[in-house]
């Protein structure tokens, strides 16, 4: 009996573990609350101009990135989330972050085309420069320049309440200072999951009609962070890199497959923002949710929870057997 129970548990565990759902929710480091928006309509704006790329092309690519999350469907074609996004148009504002005392905070996507450290970007003697000891990033907002580490391709800054996890603001900064050759190129009929079908990979920063660091690919990933998703590793580094999830942190020059969401990305979105139900909070693992949906009760977000249930049942059965 003991062996049979174990065999059954292992068989079920194996069946449930493939494919694993591995999405990860962003959490506060101290309180472990998971991050989420209470609104189902996130407003955003795109900063203009962008010196080195046609603004209309970037705007179209970024809009499509948001649209991809809005259109997310499960493998069976169901819309499992009603999260939506509203583009409030281009803006000349370049300031990121969130000021709780201000009334004009916006969710911004901004391409930083200058490096704060480069000569002439920040005028010598500017107060923001003198203030570097206390406010190291003051010049970035004032002069629309990149002040982060140059090895970062893009950064998402998310502001939230530490007690509730409710997100109030999120901004995406793209390092378009020249370190990475961003492009918006696509061949007609391109399938982002088919390597090469959207165009060839750029060979240099001056190469044209090719895919370098793809704007849509990059921003679709960053929007996952905006929504409260962290990086997942379980579905990364697959033999076929085009099957990697959008929330996998790997990306390369010429990469387009993150333009489309993997089922695991959709599972993450729908776990946080289930259609017709309030957003879910979560326990420290980020995988188990207590929903306040009308049906109530417990729910787990995927096979990891089912796997746990199977093993827990196996343990209970073995203990009972031991007692008898």
């Amino acid at each position: 009996m003991k062996r049979a129970v174990l065999a059954l548990a292992l068989a079920l565990a194996g069946a449930l573990a493939t494919p694993a759902r591995a999405y990860v929710r962003s959490q506060d480091a101290n309180t472990s609350v998971c991050l989420f928006w209470t609104s189902r309509d996130i407003h955003w704006r795109l900063s203009e101009p962008i010196d080195d790329l046609p603004f209309a092309d970037v705007e179209a690519a970024v809009k499509q990135s948001f649209q991809t999350w809005h259109d997310a469907t499960t493998p069976s074609g169901a819309h499992c989330s009603d999260m939506s996004f509203t583009y409030d148009g281009a803006t000349t504002r370049t300031d990121t972050g969130y000021d709780p005392n201000a009334t004009n905070n916006i969710n911004l996507v901004v391409f930083r085309t200058k490096n704060c450290d480069d000569p002439g970007v920040v005028p010598t003697g500017d107060p923001c420069e003198k203030d570097v000891f206390d406010h190291p990033f003051a010049c970035a907002n004032k002069y629309d320049c990149w002040s982060h580490d140059p090895s970062a391709v893009a950064l998402t800054t998310t502001d939230y309440n530490v007690n509730t996890g409710v997100i109030v603001d999120a901004d995406v900064e793209v390092n378009d200072t020249g370190a990475y050759h961003f492009t918006t190129y696509s061949l007609p009929g391109c399938d982002p999951d088919q390597a090469g079908s959207c165009g060839r990979t750029c060979n240099s920063n001056t190469d044209t009609d090719c895919i370098g660091w793809d704007v849509q690919n990059t921003v679709t990933h960053e929007i996952g962070h905006v929504l409260g998703l962290g990086h997942e590793q379980a579905l990364c580094f697959q033999q076929d890199p085009t099957q990697d999830a959008t929330m996998c942190p790997t990306a390369t020059n010429g990469d387009t497959d993150k333009r489309t969401l993997a089922p695991d990305d959709v599972a993450g979105l729908c776990a946080i923002y289930p259609k017709g139900a309030p957003p879910t909070t979560c326990t420290p693992s980020g995988h188990i949710t207590i929903t306040s949906a009308p049906a109530g009760g417990c729910s787990s977000s995927g096979p990891a929870g089912l796997l746990a249930l199977v093993l827990a049942l196996a343990v209970v059965t073995l203990r009972r057997e031991r007692r008898t």
């Binding site: 990860v24 962003s26 506060d28 480091a29 209470t38 300031d95 990121t96 969130y98 709780p100 905070n105 923001c128 420069e129 570097v132 000891f133 206390d134 406010h135 190291p136 990033f137 003051a138 970035a140 907002n141 580490d149 090895s151 970062a152 391709v153 893009a154 950064l155 998402t156 998310t158 939230y160 309440n161 530490v162 109030v168 990979t201 960053e222 962070h225 962290g230 990086h231 379980a234 990364c236 580094f237 942190p249 790997t250 390369t252 010429g254 309030p278 909070t281 326990t283 420290p284 995988h287 188990i288 207590i290 306040s292 009760g297 417990c298 929870g305 796997l307 746990a308 249930l309 827990a312």
Partner: protein, 195 residues
């Protein structure tokens, strides 16, 4: 305690969730919080950093400038590798931080806490101020080494194979933990080779 809809959660349900959560927590690997970064191997980190050291985080404060929060940390060198000396105090900053009930999270940036020990790779960011090379890649935690009682290890919380620097083959996956002393010897060797 109520949920978002104002209902009290079912406590049996909560207990089950806790059990499942504990299992799931034990089952998953360390979670990375990061953004899109270029991966830097140890050689890159040593080459790019002006200062390499083991430091104690002796103080942190969070500064606000408009909507931007920055964590400014005072670090005391407990073992110098490059560009600094034992006992020296350094100031380094990292984007994001907490002020009151508001937290600004910048994915991939180190979240420093007082009392921590870290192996840091720093580059100048202004007069007397440093930033971390490669964001979280340049601030490795020093933790007890579970495989060697009494020993220590460096721990990576970021995904260690991120964006390959150049097109082509990805970088090899770095281990999430390495024993501290051999790691420091490697750093000494790399730093020495550049002197």
């Amino acid at each position: 305690m109520k949920d978002a809809a104002g209902k009290r959660p079912d406590y049996r349900c909560r207990a089950m969730s806790r059990a499942l959560a504990a299992f799931a927590l034990a089952s998953i690997a360390a979670v990375a919080q990061a953004t899109t970064l270029v991966a830097l191997d140890t050689q890159d980190l040593v080459a790019q950093a002006k200062v390499v050291a083991v430091v104690d985080v002796v103080a942190t404060r969070v500064a606000r400038s408009g909507g931007i929060l920055t964590t400014v940390a005072t670090l005391e060198v407990v073992r110098a590798v490059k560009g600094t000396a034992l006992g020296e105090r350094l100031v380094a900053f990292s984007p994001g931080g907490r002020q009151g009930e508001w937290v600004q999270l910048v994915d991939g940036a180190p979240r420093l806490q007082e009392g921590e020990t870290r192996v840091v790779f720093l580059e100048p960011a202004g007069p007397g101020v440093y930033r971390f090379v490669g964001l979280e890649q340049g601030a490795l935690r020093v933790v007890p080494d579970r495989s060697a009682p009494g020993g220590f290890a460096v721990e990576r919380h970021f995904v260690s194979r991120l964006v390959p620097k150049h097109s082509g083959l990805p970088l090899p996956l770095l281990p999430s933990r390495e024993p501290l002393m051999p790691y420091l010897a490697k750093l000494d060797h790399l730093a020495g080779a550049r002197r």
